[in-house]
Symmetry: C2
Subunit: 335 residues, 2 copies
């Protein structure tokens, strides 16, 4: 929930670009912004193995301008930033585990690509507002939950290092060059239009896929580790509000549901809602235990107060909406 | 001072590569390692405007293998890391102010270049030891001096961001892949074989050059800001000891003199020792006050205790040795 009337007033005829816009977050956001009257451009590198999917724009193809470009290409960022009021800079390598296998590519996309956009803004469009999607993994292992934004950052893997240094760079460009930005640290998002091929793009979506196929869902350890899962429409509401909010300027804010759910409870909810599959407890694989960060729940008071926003979708409802989407359109996502 | 006999035993016939080895730190280190019996290779990209200078190897040309290569080139790092026992990975963009003008190049060299070396080590030579030269600027504004390694890191500029994220990546490769490294945070080094063309490569050397030309040295504000200046031979002693030390494995250590000197006192020392020039107090330029970090003195207890090392050269003596060097060889450095 947020002030949709104010957002509609703000976005009417505004030029908005979403990088990584064929992915789950970008495409759902694009559809909402089109509905609010914005002129929406999507920039996507359409990299194989990444989260982009043309079907995510189904029904909106005629109302969204699509550019095939990579934020690692400075000439591309110099060009697409022109005349834009807001950039949702969501182009990203989103897999934590892929960042461990290939830290260099992660750094190039999640850090240097974003630095390109900042430099292009400074040179070609210093009045643009940029919205950045950081990660709760920037906190690393936390000493208290719910965790607020002033908790120290102890990133532990390449994905988290690059999200953190990129956030520092955004803050620096705001401080030194006055480039307006709103910086989010997002907890596990899930929902419609996410990749369903493997676990690297969101564990809830992956589990829904497993259950739909009647498979056993592997939960590591006793499944007691707490996570904060945010449904995509709640996330999009916050992003829409942030793009239009004067109060959000220069702020770093957590985005989550604010509720903790154990991994096992999440998996059991998925199995119950889908009505197929099962939950199977397995020992921690070594490659995962190295990057396991312990319990996490986001303190979302700052986003609530700044954006006048409240997340509304309970996990069970989010899973049900997601299931219905993939029952209808799964053919575009599973193969 | 350090245990030179133990170091000589360690380095005899060891293969040691120094990246950025034509610069001030790398070249002085290379000469010491040759003297200790190591097979020394220097890798240097020989970039214009950077600190490398072939004259730095004067008298040692026949005993050092020189490779023109850039750590931004993964095929180069894959190749030069082979069969090496120790890599002093000192290739760097060293100017704080240049990192503000061109943050992208700073990130490519000071972060992604180092990531190339780490990946090459993981794939081609996992038993190598890598010594990394971070910066005291990783601390940003400190809340107490002398500052020890457990002080929070609050980097404020691209140079400091990139030094910090590179250090995180070294620690991660040590933790996850067992790549042995020793990580230093170095305070303002000065001395023989440094660039003398402008202020970007060390302020003490630059001031010595100004005084030698009889110029007025500009000191910002009242010159009361405290810095910790370390003379190059003290720095090299610590690096030599670190390359050979089992106890140093995986450690992050400050390297400085451990003594604080006001900026004004440093400038006055330079003018007094050189016997020419003058000190002129001028207001802070805006571009500098944005990056001024306040007083800094390194707590060097950890390096002292781990390496059995003690810095010995007082500022006045270091300036005198440096002056004599440039009186003799200045033609190779000033133009």
């Amino acid at each position: 929930m947020y002030n949709a009337a104010a957002a509609a007033t703000y976005y009417r005829d505004k030029n908005v670009t979403i990088t990584g816009g064929l992915g789950m977050i970008g495409s759902n956001l694009a559809r909402s912004l089109v509905d609010l009257g914005a002129n929406v451009t999507i920039v996507d590198a359409m990299l194989a193995q990444f989260g982009g999917n043309h079907f995510n724009l189904s029904g909106y193809e005629d109302r969204i301008h699509l550019i095939a470009a990579d934020i690692r290409d400075r000439s591309a960022t110099d060009s697409f930033i022109l005349n834009q009021h807001v950039i949702f800079n969501f182009a990203a390598q989103v897999s934590h585990n892929d960042s461990i296998r290939d830290p260099y590519s992660d750094a190039q996309i999640n850090y240097l690509g974003h630095l390109n956009v900042l430099e292009s803004a400074r040179v070609n469009n210093p009045d643009v507002r940029i919205i950045y999607s950081g990660s709760r993994l920037q906190y690393g292992k936390v000493h208290s939950v719910p965790t607020s934004e002033d908790h120290p950052l102890n990133p532990e893997t390449p994905y988290a290092f690059n999200k953190t240094v990129a956030e520092s760079m955004y803050r620096y460009y705001y401080r030194l060059h006055g480039i307006d930005s709103v910086l989010f640290r997002i907890t596990n998002p899930y929902g419609v239009r996410g990749q369903m091929k493997h676990s690297g793009y969101g564990i809830v979506n992956y589990f829904i896929g497993c259950a739909m196929r009647g498979e056993a869902i592997s939960v590591f350890g006793d499944g007691s580790q707490i996570r904060d899962y945010i449904y995509i429409s709640d996330l999009v509401d916050a992003l829409v509000a942030a793009g239009a909010s004067v109060a959000a300027r220069g702020k770093v804010m957590n985005l989550g549901s604010g509720r903790g759910t154990s991994f096992r409870e999440m998996a059991e909810t998925v199995v119950r809602v889908v009505g197929r599959g099962s939950v199977s407890l397995v020992p921690w694989p070594k490659s995962y235990i190295n990057v396991e960060t312990g319990d996490f729940i986001a303190n979302i008071d700052l986003a609530r107060n700044t954006l006048g926003w409240t997340p509304e979708i309970l996990l069970e409802d989010g899973v049900r909406i997601t299931l219905h989407y993939y029952e209808q359109y799964g053919g575009h996502y599973f193969e």
